[in-house]
Symmetry: C2
DNA sequence: ACAGTTTCCCGTAAATGC
DNA sequence: TGCATTTACGGGAAACTG
């Protein structure tokens, strides 16, 4: 029966832990007072146990840090109704679903009074345990199951940082024993390992991982160490790359899901490489890249213009979440206009790099808008378009509107290697070569 | 001393009752669990009383309806700390400020169980009383002060309805005794009286009342009674005009404050009158009017175009709050473009009716944007503009894009009277005649 | 099924604490 | 004073409840 006891002790597992709104609160991040759900599965599937076990969730049970770490916050489950319990069979397994769980600040709130904590609140790792006692044949057996570590936040503004902690912890624990105090002295991670996880983030946010070129580019922003190690404080702190990456993930999830998924967004390309790539192509080639400076996530397009021997590469002021909530990027590209003299306009975006007609690449995403100039109510239809003023042709008129701005994209040119060109965007190329695309819809 | 007692009984008044966020929760509307502040003033300003009186707020004290009206909801102040008290002198008067008040559902929540109430929750009128006892020379004197009726809501979506109730009640009580059960059988209001109140709403939301033309137009939407009486149910229910008016008030407050204040928005003009007005003017005249169909508040511009003998009046699809949050209406007017063949564009908006050059009227509100085509970061600047496709010149090409849509604005023409023209917009006319306006800023 | 009503909760802004 | 953390609450949407 000692064996049985042991078996039973490992029989209860936390199946999953989606928060109620799993899109924004990614799993393992709990917001104070906001409801979440946990499902438990009892691995020993004997009908015998049905409705026999009372399971109780306990927050931070036996967690050392709660008692010893200065400033460690304390939480408890909100409702004593948290004694929801019993094991029943919906279909097949013995499971218990804890709905409407939520936590609040504990009575003491913080260990040892004030918060002279060695770590930030989003680095504090907590844990939920589910306990039950099985009485069987005069034998009393205590069974516990614990969740992966969770981070508790009080505002959605803390979610990005919290998410970094969860990710870092899980990577650490894959290769070494890692405690809930991991962030008191957080070990570094090899880029090889971190980059994998970052790529998964893009898979999760936008259904597509990062390709090798994107990873290489990202590495330049993240790795600052001869041994390719990434240090937590450099990575996740307010001026580190994570906040920037997270902004881009957000942008993808909310506004670029389709075109990211289908590989239309090169995204991580620096200005030099952008120029290299575009300069080798005919006028009108453009590509999409994320802003390198904007911390909240922004995307721009760069395009090349050739006229009488001159080659210029431009980039529009990046579009943020707010901009894109007024119009989608494909529509925006479709309608983008440069305005020259006499209010004559032209769209400089012709080919998605490399040489893919833009309507071939973006046609599937254009939003069908009202087609007729006047709609049924008698109102004149309208659409938003993004417009820039021409600066090159004609040669700048005198005056302050055409100052000696230093445009990084207009620095000295160089010829890109053919290999470099082939490396980029193989799949978009594939699309062009192998697929016959649906006809482009007439927009107006 | 009986006189003194009487005097003291009337000595306590509720000074004002701003909610903590008075912009959205207009006074007299309380949202459950959301904090608000009430200031009490003690009219008998004797230093004698300083810090001698304990004042206690009580919700719905002595309100009959709480006991008798089926479905009437019950509320209590959230914190027992609501015994905040004392009278002190900040400067001059004896006042007590109750900060951080908030209410929650009472224990019984609803009178007589279920909610078979004869009135909607936003028609339920409640009241806050402040009570204190003064012991003076062996004499015990009970003093009370009560607020104006308040409506309790649980969601901001109920605020517009609640506001209608508050307004209606206050108008009713100006001319007749009105109880908290007023909405069980709400008396009608004379248009004369209601219109006054509506005009004040516009004053409050946008610093400018309605003029006679606007009131006349509004009357057509609101009054449906030979005696010019307005009936509550027709006015305030979901398909009544109040919701529509409230949407417009919201639009003004959030997006049109300046131009409404300065009289640039004619606003309430029907399509026929719009056509009459514009047809008498030169090509390029336009005016701003609110959508008559959109319930959430929307604004459009109508303009006149003359070409070879033909006169056409058009109106763009109305702009909603969401549209205007992407760009302001003055900027939108400045940049609005009709796109003809060859991507050549023209702005059909030239004169704000009557014949005021648009930059004279709207120049002060244009947002100065980045002027140079390329800004300091090297990015090409851009702006959003609203664009429509030309439909008149040239004569419609064959095909479905130019169907026989029935445009109410293109119905048979008639000549407007000169008087009609003079009536409208006297102040804008004045402006043109009497003021030398600031120079128009160059936008790009 | 449905409408009136309430709850939920993100995301931003403001307040608070140290 | 500045930064880290928490609270407040509008607004949209889902959930409730008879």
């Amino acid at each position: 029966t000692a064996l049985l006891t042991k078996l039973l002790q490992n029989a209860l597992v936390v199946e999953k832990q989606p928060t109620m709104s799993s899109l924004t609160h990614r799993p393992c991040i709990l917001k104070l007072t906001v409801g979440f759900t946990v499902t438990l599965r009892f691995l020993v599937n004997l009908p015998l146990f049905k409705c026999l076990l009372k399971v109780k969730p306990v927050f931070d049970k036996d967690v050392e840090e709660v008692k010893t770490m200065k400033g460690f916050r304390q939480f408890v489950f909100s409702e004593n109704t948290s004694k929801l319990l019993d094991v029943c069979t919906p279909n097949g397994g013995l499971v218990a679903e804890f709905g409407h769980l939520s936590i609040k600040k504990g009575s003491k709130s913080r260990v040892n009074g004030s918060n002279e904590s060695p770590i930030g609140v989003t680095e504090e790792l907590h844990m939920i345990k589910f306990v039950t006692t099985l009485q069987l044949a005069g034998l009393e057996c205590h069974i516990e199951a614990s969740s992966l570590p969770v981070v508790v936040v009080c505002s959605t503004a803390q979610v990005p940082s919290a998410w970094a902690s969860v990710m870092w912890y899980s990577l650490l624990s894959a290769t070494q024993p890692t405690s809930l105090s991991a962030f008191v002295e957080p070990p570094p991670l090899p880029w090889e390992q971190l980059s994998q996880a970052l790529s998964w983030q893009f898979l999760s946010a936008g259904d597509r991982e990062l390709n090798q070129n994107q990873l290489d580019e990202l590495k330049l922003k993240v790795v600052d160490d001869p041994d390719d190690l990434v240090h937590w404080n450099k990575f996740a702190k307010s001026d580190g790359p994570w906040i920037w990456i997270n902004g881009i993930l957000d942008l993808i999830q909310k506004h670029l899901k389709e075109i990211w998924r289908d590989g239309c967004v090169m995204g991580f390309v620096n200005k030099d490489k952008t120029r290299q790539l575009l300069q080798s192509k005919q006028s009108g080639n453009f590509l999409l890249r994320f802003s390198e400076s904007n911390r909240e996530g922004a995307i721009t397009f760069s395009w090349v213009e050739r006229s009488n021997g001159e080659v210029n590469v431009y980039a529009v002021k990046p579009y943020t979440k707010k901009d894109l909530s007024a119009m989608s990027l494909p529509n925006l590209i479709y309608h983008y206009s440069l305005r020259a003299q006499q209010r004559k306009t032209v769209n400089p975006l012709v080919y998605l790099y490399p040489d893919i007609p833009k309507d071939t690449a973006f046609g599937p995403y254009y939003t069908k808008q009202e087609i007729s100039p006047i709609n049924k109510d008698g109102y004149v239809n309208r659409q938003l378009i993004s417009v820039s003023d021409c600066c090159t042709p004609p040669p700048s008129p005198p005056g302050e509107t055409q100052m000696d701005v230093e445009d990084p994209l207009q620095a000295p040119l160089s010829v890109p290697s053919e290999e470099l060109l082939q490396e980029w965007f193989p799949d978009v190329l594939d699309t062009t070569l192998s697929t016959s695309l649906p006809p482009i819809e007439q927009m107006f």
